[in-house]
């Protein structure tokens, strides 16, 4: 089942967009998870709601919201373009941004769960042994929540690969620029006589999803062994 150059391009673009989406959102997701798991501040419920918003909003609405804030004529988008020369709209980075926003809750939820599973007295023990707060976080908390971070990242990666609504609404369906696998499948279905291409791309998506699941399982076990839980 040889793939056409256009299909290979869609595959590579999808992987790149998903990777950038996950890695780009990870630090902010970790910060949000820390804030939600350990922080006590007024408006925590609001932050919690905001973080989870992409999970409950229709992706098309997410895409629309991005369009009206980050479009080149929208306030934030215009500022980005004027100050940094950055244009997200109709650009693959915009697709990565949209995927990162939509899959953000997956990362935060997994990290938060992992953080809540860490005995809070362990970082205190580390600090009594001479470690600063930051040192204790990096050497104790972070390794202990690694399985959660990995699980969240893989889930978010898989979800980014499948993101459709937000991407097509925000950055449109441009082959070679923003046309990821789901968008390519959609285009193939729309074009009469292209059923074979649609089937190939769908098969590819299924294989990717399965590989992601297996990888997540293996990584999870590895990490669990690393922290001595099993």
């Amino acid at each position: 089942m040889p793939l056409t150059p256009v299909e290979i391009e869609a595959l590579l673009l999808s992987l790149r967009i998903a990777f950038v989406a996950v890695v780009g959102a990870l630090p902010l997701a970790l910060l949000s998870a820390l804030l939600l798991a350990r922080g006590r501040f007024p408006g925590k419920l609001l932050v919690d709601g905001l973080v989870h918003l992409p999970l409950v909003l229709p992706p098309v609405v997410m895409g629309y919201l991005l369009l009206v804030t980050l479009g080149t004529r929208a306030p934030v988008g215009a500022w980005l373009l004027d100050t940094f020369g950055v244009r997200l709209i109709f650009h693959w980075t915009g697709a990565a941004f949209a995927a990162g926003v939509v899959t953000f809750p997956f990362q935060v939820r997994a990290m938060r769960l992992a953080l809540e599973g860490v005995n809070p007295t362990l970082p205190a023990a580390a600090r009594s042994l001479g470690a600063s707060r930051f040192d204790a976080f990096v050497t104790i908390t972070l390794p202990l929540i690694l399985p959660g971070i990995i699980a969240g990242a893989i889930t978010a990666f898989a979800a980014s690969l499948g993101e459709f609504g937000a991407i097509i609404t925000f950055v449109s369906n441009i082959p070679g620029e923003t046309q990821t696998l789901p968008l390519a499948i959609y285009s193939a279905i729309q074009t009469p006589g292209n059923e074979a291409a649609a089937a190939r791309l769908a098969g590819l998506s299924i294989a990717l999803a399965l590989a992601g699941l297996v990888l997540s399982e293996i990584a999870g076990r590895r990490a669990q062994r690393l922290i001595g839980g099993g």
Binding site: R127, L129, G130, I140, L144, G228
Partner: protein
């Protein structure tokens, strides 16, 4: 010297304590759960902050509310041993041990890994992970980890509470060696008077966030007001003795103290060694005249110092030379023997009621 005087209010509970501990030796914090023992440890360590007062160790001020000093937890260099060992699960025993060592200033590293490994007998555990250790082993590693952080003070928050009697007996000798070989002041939290009598030099008795008594272990344990008959704790005095001789034929040991001698079942300590034994008040009988032909081997002339009556019970404070004992008898017997301060009596103690082990 450790100097603590702190006030902290937290909801219903308020802590208002002041005490001092020796620069070398063990200060025991004793009290029921909820008396504030663990809060005091957390205040000394710097995990929680008092509203008023100060915490000082020798020349170093950890906290002073009026001077605005609050040294952060990781700068105080206190070795903190917890009830649940709190080993880092993702690190090997060796990496756990070295966690604090690597963070201590190089110039202060006087306690080495080899030394601690030998002291605690944990050579065989070094490459293992914490989840593969028994409770007693975990506690020994936690102790070693705290020691290797080169602490200025050791805080031990009921380190034996989660262990059964056998494991306790396994750890106690290590703690005693630590006390005798390392010149680090130790604060020991406990709700076991036997542990306190065996290990501590200074005893601070806490009751609902206040200091009920503070002083040398012998003096505090000899007080009659602290452990009345209805208290959950077994009253009894502690005396420091020296091993005079062993009588192998009968497996007995003769112990001498400032005021007399005691014969007890053979102890492990060698001749000349000092140890502290606790004699429970209900194991001390009193006689108005010297009893003869008795199975009990210890008959000591004593002077009544204090009599304290409580319904059926009478607690009698006794002076035997410079040592103090407590006897618990019935009020009826106290009346019958006409016991009053100054009365001359004979204290009768069964040898088998005393064991030098103290633990358990």
């Amino acid at each position: 010297m450790l100097d603590v005087a702190v006030v902290r209010r937290l909801g219903q509970f308020s802590l208002d304590v002041a005490f001092a501990g020796p620069a070398v030796g063990v200060t025991a914090l004793f009290g029921a759960s909820g008396s504030g023992k663990s809060s005091i440890i957390a205040l000394i360590a710097g995990l929680i902050k008092p509203q008023e007062g100060h915490v000082r160790l020798g020349e170093t001020t950890f906290f002073d509310a009026s001077a605005g000093i609050d040294l952060p937890l990781h700068c105080r260099r206190v070795g903190w041993v917890f009830q649940d060992a709190r080993l880092f699960p993702h690190l090997s025993v060796r990496a756990n041990l070295l966690y604090g060592y690597r963070r201590a200033p190089a110039a202060d590293r006087r306690i080495s890994l080899d030394q601690v490994v030998a002291l605690l007998g944990i050579e065989a555990l070094l490459s293992r992970r914490p989840h593969a250790l028994s409770g007693g082993e975990k506690q020994r590693v936690a102790l070693g980890r705290a020691l290797l952080s080169q602490p200025r003070l050791l805080l031990m928050d009921e380190p034996l509470a989660s262990l059964d009697a056998g494991r306790k007996a396994e750890i106690l000798p290590y703690v005693e060696r630590l006390r005798d070989e390392m010149e680090i002041p130790i604060v020991w939290v406990s709700h076991s008077l036997d542990e306190v009598a065996r290990l501590a030099d200074t005893l601070v008795v806490l009751d609902q966030g206040r200091v009920a008594a503070c002083g040398s272990v012998a003096t505090v344990l000899a007080r009659l007001d602290l452990f009345p008959p209805d208290s959950p704790y077994e009253a009894g005095a502690a005396i420091t003795v020296t091993v005079a001789s062993h009588e192998e034929a009968h497996s007995l040991t003769r112990l001498v103290f400032d005021g007399g001698a005691l014969v007890v079942p053979r102890v492990v300590e060698a001749t000349g060694e000092r140890l502290r034994i606790r004699i429970r008040a209900r194991d001390v009988m009193l006689a108005a005249s010297e009893p003869l032909d008795l199975s009990a081997l210890n008959v000591l002339p004593a002077v009544v110092r204090e009599v304290r009556l409580a319904d059926a019970h009478a607690d009698i404070g006794l002076d035997i030379g410079a040592a103090q004992l407590v006897s618990r008898i019935t009020s009826f017997s106290a009346e019958r023997l006409r016991l009053a301060p100054g009365s001359r009596v004979f204290a009768v103690i069964k040898s088998v009621a005393i064991d030098g082990r103290g633990g358990g």
